[in-house]
């Protein structure tokens, strides 16, 4: 099952964010010879085959060895290379976690860690291939920016910005084509959420590929019930845009967070923790993958099972508003 279908008139369909990542990196590599992609037999799924063919001196293959992938990337970055270490998010953020913690973050080597086929993108391949822990584990590590772009615009901006940012960064992408979520808001900065729809009754804060179903749910709420919803692509999970959070919470509206992540320790808990400690008591709901034996199925089916869909979020929002 695909993700929710959209009507052409509402949103312009784009490509998979993963594809935009590789195209952007290739475009940057053409003029910036210090850009290096490091891969762990992952250039196929990372869509980096054309990159490797065009710039063979700018790709370092380490084979299926994620610890070495990150260690080597740290060494390359330390030597001045703009290094993008590309591997499935599930392996990169678990197998190589100690290398991320020590060799990249603690040693402050400016590697951009790129988790591909993130979240439940691998669908029926199962839990071994899901990355539902990466936000939580990386949030607990000092000195890393965590980014999950929602659409092709954010993806391109994130990759371009990463090439200019001399700090450790983790960014992750999925495999499904994503629509452009806002033609109006064309601002992008790490640590600044992007408002893609505005309304005073409710706020949905989402990241990555869940911003799209959040947007669809907001549209349905308005079309069917007249409920006006603000939808934020909180593409940077760390550092969190706390100023925007406070603005959203200040009128007392209910807040829903959505993420392709286990609900423990991710975007939702980051938002809840901040707001609660600041004294906000808005109604609050975290939507994500529950802490259970993850249901099997395609990405769309898993999303639907956990209510990360237009109808699921529509229902959750209605309930939160006692509608």
């Amino acid at each position: 099952m695909e993700l929710d279908k959209i009507e052409e008139k509402d949103l312009k369909m784009g490509k998979a964010n993963q594809d935009v990542f590789s195209e952007t990196l290739q475009a940057l590599a053409e003029t910036d010879k210090s850009i290096i992609a490091v891969t762990s037999d992952s250039r196929g799924s990372g869509k980096l085959v054309p990159f490797g063919e065009k710039y063979p001196k700018q790709i370092v293959e380490v084979g299926i060895a994620e610890q070495n992938l990150v260690g080597v990337a740290a060494g390359l970055a330390s030597a001045g290379k703009k290094t993008f270490a590309v591997s499935p998010a599930c392996f990169l953020s678990a197998r190589a976690l100690e290398q991320i913690k020590n060799d990249v973050c603690y040693s402050d080597n400016p590697v951009t860690l790129v988790g591909i086929s993130a979240g439940v993108s691998y669908g029926a391949l199962g839990t071994t291939h899901h990355s539902l822990h990466d936000y939580a584990v990386l949030r607990a590590i000092n000195n890393i920016i965590i980014v999950a772009p929602a659409d092709n615009f954010e993806t391109e901006q994130a990759v371009r910005l990463a090439a200019k940012t001399k700090k450790p960064i983790y960014m992750r992408f999925g495999k499904k084509a994503m629509p452009f979520l806002s033609e109006e808001n064309k601002t992008f900065e790490f640590g600044k959420g992007r408002v893609v729809r505005e309304g005073a009754d409710l706020a949905i804060i989402a990241c990555g590929e869940t911003v799209y179903p959040a947007w669809l749910a907001a549209k349905k709420l308005e079309d069917e019930l007249g409920i006006k919803t603000t939808v934020v692509s909180m593409h940077t999970i760390k550092p969190l845009d706390v100023k925007l959070l406070e603005t959203l919470a200040s009128n007392g509206r209910p807040i829903i967070t959505v993420e392709e992540q286990m609900v423990n320790g991710g975007l939702g808990e980051a938002c809840a923790s901040y707001l609660f400690q600041k004294g906000f008591r808005n109604k609050f709901k975290i939507v994500g993958i529950l802490d259970d034996y993850t249901v099997t199925g395609s990405q769309g089916e898993i999303f639907k099972h956990y209510g990360i869909s237009q109808d699921g979020l529509f229902k959750t929002c209605k309930e939160l508003l006692d509608f």
């Binding site: 290096i36 060895a65 610890q67 070495n68 260690g71 080597v72 990337a73 740290a74 030597a79 100690e98």
Partner: protein, 274 residues
């Protein structure tokens, strides 16, 4: 520096590392004593590094994978002028940068290490970058024999030979012991030479306490064009202090006042014989 002066330096560095371990009441004594001759040769005979221009992109890189033996590194760096030796009075003290493992907060330290099996992969990245940029500097790491079972080392061994990194030098401080006892009893890593040769490295074995042998090996690479260099430095844990030599408990044992005095007197006696 004459060879005699270099030998005297090794004794001085032993005295210094014992002094700061004794003062801090913490440290990895046995391993620091086994690898300090290697560090002496590296910093006084081999590495192209300048304490006043440490960030020079053309410098040789030295990344200490066996980060726990930081006391040997710190006293060597202090002696080479990277920072005043008096800084080491703060070793392991609150808010000091001189902690129990190397950190880049200390002038002369390339990378933050301490978790084992991390140094070599970073060196592989550094060595690939040097090759890509046609630079001639060399990249060195010091591995402990106790950290050889870490799988990341073997991932890095593979990639170093795959990329023909003959600008990379891995030195094994082969003191044969680790915190629990002898390597062969904890996890047998015998036949290292054969293993590394099978992985495509060029291997040399030296007496890790013979400064000339160390210098000859470290300054006469690459051993084979297109192959990374592996130096097995046969060493003795606790080398230089009779009651520490080969005794496992000195892995991170701290001497008492009497033991410290005895160690110093033994080292002073050794000095007189040089």
């Amino acid at each position: 520096m004459t060879h005699k002066e270099l030998k005297l330096k090794s004794v001085l560095l032993r005295k210094n590392l014992l002094k700061y371990i004794y003062k801090a009441k913490a440290g990895h004594t046995g391993g620091s004593l086994s690898c300090v001759d290697t560090l002496n040769v590296l910093y006084n005979r081999v590495l192209n590094v300048d304490p006043t221009d440490f960030k020079n992109p053309n410098r040789d890189r030295y990344i200490q994978s066996k980060g726990h033996c930081v006391e040997a590194l710190f006293v060597t760096l202090a002696d080479r002028g990277f920072f005043p030796e008096s800084d080491l009075e703060t070793l392991c003290k609150y808010q000091s940068h001189y902690i129990g493992h190397p950190t880049k907060k200390v002038n002369g330290v390339e990378q933050n290490t301490g978790a084992l099996g991390h140094g070599l992969p970073i060196c592989v990245g550094e060595a690939i970058a040097a090759k890509l940029d046609n630079k001639t500097h060399r990249v060195y790491t010091l591995l402990g024999d106790g950290e050889l079972p870490e799988g990341s080392n073997w991932e890095a061994f593979l990639s170093a030979s795959h990329y023909k990194l003959d600008n990379l030098y891995a030195i094994l401080d082969n003191n044969k012991q680790q915190i629990t006892g002898y390597n062969k009893d904890v996890m047998n890593t015998d036949s290292v030479r054969e293993k590394l040769e099978a992985f495509g490295w060029a291997v040399k074995e030296v007496d890790g306490h013979n400064l000339e042998e160390l210098e000859n090996a470290l300054n006469n690479g690459p051993f084979e064009t297109g192959k990374p260099n592996f130096i097995i430095a046969h060493t003795i844990k606790g080398k230089g202090v009779s009651y520490m030599e080969g005794v496992t408990k000195w892995h991170h044992g701290v001497p008492s006042a009497e033991q410290y005095a005895l160690a110093l007197s033994e080292l002073t006696a050794a000095e007189a014989l040089i």
